[in-house]
Subunit: 360 residues, 2 copies
C-alpha cells in the first residue's frame, strides 16, 4: 500500500486479488446486515441462498474492471471504500441477471452448485410442484437482488456528482444486458448463418455490459478527463468480444468439472452463437442439415452432442479461435497508446490474457 503523500518510483502492480477480497467483503457485509435487520424480518432462506450463490465462485470481472477503470482515470491507491462499494453493486446486479438467466436457460448448475431456482425448489420439495415454486421464488429473489444492488450503490457515500454520473452509466449498462438477453432469447432455438446477429448479441450482452460499462463506471467515478473513456472503450470492445467467443467455446467444449456448468445446455437450447453461425455458413449441406436437426433438441444425448462438436470443430472452431486471437491483439494494441498509468495497462493486459486462455 502506498501512503497518501509518496508517489512510488516504480508503479506497484494492481493487486486484483486484494480488490476482489474487498468487493466480496462489501457484498458479505451487505447481506449480513439484511439478514440481521429485524424489520422487515426476511425469511432467512433469501439471504442464505443469495450468499451461497454469490460466494460459490464467479470471476468478478465487472467489479475488477470498474476498479481498473477508476485507476485508469487517475484514481489512486488505496481504493476508497465508496468505489469498492460501487463495484460490488455491479456484481450484485450481475447476480440478479444470472438468477433470471438460469431460469430462462433451465440450468441445473452454475459455479458447480445448484442454480438458485433449483436450490429453492430443493428447500421447498414438499410443495405440490417444487420446480414451479423454485422458478417463481427465483424470479422474486432475482428482483430483490436487483433492488439491493441499487441500494448498495445509493448507500456508497459517493459525492452528488459521482452518483449522477454513475447512474447515467448504470442506466445504460442495465438496459444493455436486458436487450442482449432478449435478443439471445428470440434467436435461441433458431440457429442460423447470421453472424451479424450473433455479434450484435455479443455487443449488448458482453461487450457493453461486461467490459465497456464497468470500465466507464470506474472512469466517471474518478472524474476521467477526455480521452480516458475513449481509450477504455478501444480496449473493451475487442476484449469483450473475445470474452464471449471464448465463453461460447467453453459452453460446447468446456470441461464441466472446471466451468461448473453443463456442456450440453447450449447445444440443447440451440443457442445462436458465432460458432454456430460460422458452422452453418461453412458446413457442407449434409453437415448443416444434421447440425440443424440436433441443435435445440432438449433431449440431446452425449453421443449426439459429440456429433455436433465434430461438425463445429470441422467447420467453425478454428475460425472462432482466430477471431479471439485477433481481438486479443487489438485489445493489446489499444493499450499501447492509452493514457493510463503503467500499472493499469499491465493489469488490463493480464485480464486480456486470462480472457483468452481461461478454461473456466
Amino acid at each position: 500500500m502506498t501512503t497518501a503523500h509518496a508517489e512510488p518510483a516504480a508503479p506497484a502492480p494492481v493487486d486484483l486479488a486484494a480488490i476482489r477480497t474487498r468487493v466480496d467483503g462489501e457484498l458479505d457485509q451487505f447481506l449480513r446486515d439484511k439478514a440481521a435487520a429485524t424489520e422487515p424480518a426476511l425469511p432467512d432462506e433469501l439471504t442464505d441462498i443469495a450468499r451461497d450463490f454469490l460466494f460459490a465462485g464467479g470471476k468478478r470481472i465487472r467489479p475488477l474492471l470498474c476498479v481498473l477503470g477508476w485507476h485508469a482515470a487517475g484514481g489512486r491507491m488505496p481504493v476508497p471504500q465508496p468505489i469498492v462499494r460501487a463495484a460490488a453493486s455491479v456484481e450484485l446486479f450481475h447476480a440478479a441477471v444470472l438468477i433470471h438467466d438460469d431460469i430462462i436457460d433451465n440450468s441445473d448448475t452454475r459455479r458447480d452448485h445448484p442454480t438458485v431456482h433449483r436450490a429453492l425448489a430443493a428447500r421447498h420439495r414438499d410443495r405440490r410442484d417444487p420446480g414451479r415454486f423454485g422458478a417463481h421464488a427465483a424470479i422474486v429473489l432475482g428482483d430483490l437482488a436487483m433492488v439491493w444492488s441499487a441500494e448498495l450503490l445509493h448507500t456508497a457515500r459517493l459525492t452528488a456528482t459521482q452518483l449522477t454520473e454513475a447512474l447515467t452509466v448504470l442506466d445504460g449498462m442495465r438496459a444493455d444486458v436486458m436487450y442482449g438477453q432478449y435478443l439471445d432469447l428470440i434467436t435461441t432455438a433458431r440457429p442460423s448463418r447470421d453472424l451479424d446477429r450473433a455479434m450484435q448479441i455479443i455487443r449488448y450482452k458482453t461487450v457493453a455490459y461486461t467490459c465497456e460499462r464497468p470500465l466507464e463506471l470506474g472512469a466517471v467515478l474518478a472524474g476521467a478527463r477526455p480521452g480516458v473513456r475513449e481509450a477504455l472503450i478501444a480496449y473493451a470492445r475487442p476484449i469483450g468480444e473475445a470474452f464471449q467467443l471464448q465463453d461460447d467455446l467453453l459452453g460446447v467444449y468446456g470441461d464441466p468439472a472446471r466451468t461448473g456448468k453443463s456442456d450440453l445446455e447450449d447445444l440443447r437450447e440451440g443457442k445462436h452463437t458465432a460458432l454456430v453461425a460460422l458452422a452453418l455458413e461453412h458446413a457442407k449441406p449434409a453437415q448443416a442439415a444434421q447440425l440443424l436437426t440436433l441443435l435445440g433438441n432438449p433431449e440431446l444425448d452425449s453421443g449426439q452432442a459429440d456429433t455436433c462438436r465434430e461438425i463445429l470443430t470441422a467447420t467453425a472452431r478454428p475460425r472462432v479461435e482466430a477471431m479471439i486471437r485477433t481481438r486479443w491483439a487489438q485489445a493489446n494494441r489499444a493499450l499501447d497508446d492509452a493514457p493510463f498509468p503503467a500499472a493499469v495497462g499491465q493489469a488490463l493486459r493480464h485480464v486480456a490474457d486470462v480472457v483468452v486462455s481461461r478454461n473456466t
Copy 2:
C-alpha cells in the same frame, strides 16, 4: 391553475384526473423515445407490449399518492415536471412488478387484456413451446421495465438533494414489495388461520409499497418539514390495509367484467388472505375441512368456487367488511389533525372513499 404569486382564497381542489394525464404523458413519451432510438435497436414488440400493458388501464394510485404527498408537504401547483416524472417512474416500476407477478400467479388476463407473458406467447405462437417462451420473455421485459423505471427517475432533473432523498425512499419501497411478494408466495397454497401472517403480507405488499412510500416520496421531494411524513403515514397505514382487504374481496367476489381479472384465480392458487384466515378461524370443522380441500385446487370449477364463496360469506366476509370500515374511519380521523393544505386533505378523503367503495 394558480399563478406562482397569488394564493387563492379558497383552495382549488386537486385535479387527480389532470395529474393522471400528465403521468401517462411522461410514460408515453419515455416509451416513444425508447422505440425511436436507433441504437440500441430494440425489437418493436418490447415497447409495443409495454405500452399496451401500461395503457390498458390501472388506477395509477401510486403516482397520484406521490403527487398528493408532494402537495401535502407544501409543493404548490402547477406540479413541476420533475415531480410528475418521479411519480411516473413509480408506475413503471409497478408495471415491472405486475409483469412478474402475473407469471408467478399464472394469470391469463389483467386489466381485461392478456397478461404480458400471454401476449408474448401469442406473438411467438410458432415456437416449440410458446407458453414457456412467453414466460421467459416476460421475465426479461419485467426486468427491463424495472431498469427503465430507474432511468425515468434519474433523468427527471431532480436536484441532488431531491435525488438522494428519493433514492432512499425508493430503495425501501422496492424491497418492501419484494418481501411482500415472497411472503405471499410461500404462504400461497398453504392457507391457514394465521391472520397475523396475512396482515404482515399486507403491510409490505400494500401498506408500504402502495401507500406509505409513494406519499413519502412526494413529501421528501417537497422537502417536507417534520410532522408531515408522520401524518402521511398515519393516513397511509389504515388506508393501505383497507385497500388490500378490499382487493382480496374483489379477487373472490368481484365481477371479472369490472375487475378485468378472473374471480377464480385467488381461490385456485389458494392465496392466504385475511378473508381466508378469518374463515378458517370461525368456520365449523366441517366447513373448514371443505374449504381447505377446495382452496389451492388448480382445477377448481365455478360450482366449487361458489361453495368456497358461501363458506367465506358465512364465516368471514362481514368481518373483513367491518375491518375495511374501521380502517377507513381511522384514515379519515388521521386527516382531521394533519398539517396539510385543505385541498390535499379533501383529495386524500376522496381516495379513501374510492378505496373502500371500488368494484374494480
